[in-house]
Symmetry: C2
């Protein structure tokens, strides 16, 4: 089914490429890039992980520091890595760093992004086709399956499982007025895991 299919694709075609420690200078893993970033910018990450956001509505703006998330500011990107993949020479992979401003004014650095397949599902649903109609009817189920399959794949992968924190959440505001501040959502997860 679609949800578990794109979870497999996301895990094998992306997380397995960007997360693991490889020990090679020209093929660094997430943690190595984060340590380089800390050294270059004199900051500290709370968690050496990639936070993957799965908003139930599929709404994934281009940047996490959207108008709905005032507690989040863009920081710089981690260094990118390039490798040949399926005929694309030097395909570029990189992750973004954000700062979350806490209620006490502290700055917490995190490496985070939305789950791209969920964004893409959102775009597929906007089409005016029969296919898109089916996706619009079942998208909640598809996103849930994507989340459950992804968590399972990570749990069973030695190299990846403690490098990734997947957050599945209802991203709409309770009063229906818009979207929740993602900063608070990430901070709650950080507190849980520390």
């Amino acid at each position: 089914d679609y949800g578990s299919g794109i979870a497999h694709s996301f895990f094998h075609g992306y997380l397995r490429i960007v997360l693991p420690h490889t020990g090679h200078q020209n093929n660094k893993g997430l943690r190595e890039f984060q340590k380089d970033f800390e050294a270059r910018n004199d900051v500290k990450f709370d968690a050496y992980k990639l936070f993957i956001l799965i908003p139930m509505s599929t709404h994934c703006p281009p940047s996490i520091d959207s108008e709905f998330s005032p507690s989040i500011e863009v920081s710089k990107e981690l260094e990118s890595k390039e490798l040949d993949r399926a005929g694309v020479k030097n395909r570029n992979y990189k992750n973004s760093v954000y700062k979350i401003i806490t209620s006490s004014g502290q700055k917490k650095y995190v490496t985070a992004e939305y789950a791209t397949p969920v964004k893409t599902l959102g775009e597929v649903m906007k089409e005016n086709t029969q296919c898109a109609n089916i996706y619009r009817k079942h998208y909640k189920e598809i996103v849930l399956n994507f989340y459950l399959t992804l968590v399972d794949l990570l749990k069973n992968d030695e190299a990846c499982h403690d490098l990734c924190e997947v957050i599945y959440y209802d991203d709409k505001n309770k009063d229906g007025s818009g979207y929740r501040d993602v900063g608070g959502i990430i901070l709650s997860r950080i507190r849980e895991i520390m």
Copy 2:
């Protein structure tokens, strides 16, 4: 189903981003990048298209100029473009150019790559799980569905349909001794469309 799901993801999450003409200097489309490449390198593309290779076996080496395709040489990459997508700031997209040496010694320049979701499916199948078992049993069908859905999505998209040539082929040698030279496969398609 998996095949049509990853075709939607590939079309909306990639082809729609890299192919179309946008008219913006900071968000060029394939054809604009190809024209820049021709000017900088004093060469000519036979076709202003992205050739997407879908090998039935799912075997997609890192570079098209693999040991099985002696008629293909790597050229340079087209210029890349960067844009914010689903929380990844300045995500990088670029395509590769290859030269095909014809039987008469001519050099034909093409922008080509394997369909990465097919590569990823190949990797998913190698796992030692129940899920991978199902994919191994049905992969031929999945790849075919991917191809048919992709062709259909392209046919119905004004902005993309004549910027992409999808080649679905049996990539194994008839005598079972290895894989066919991809150069010949691409040249046949070029002759058909010119």
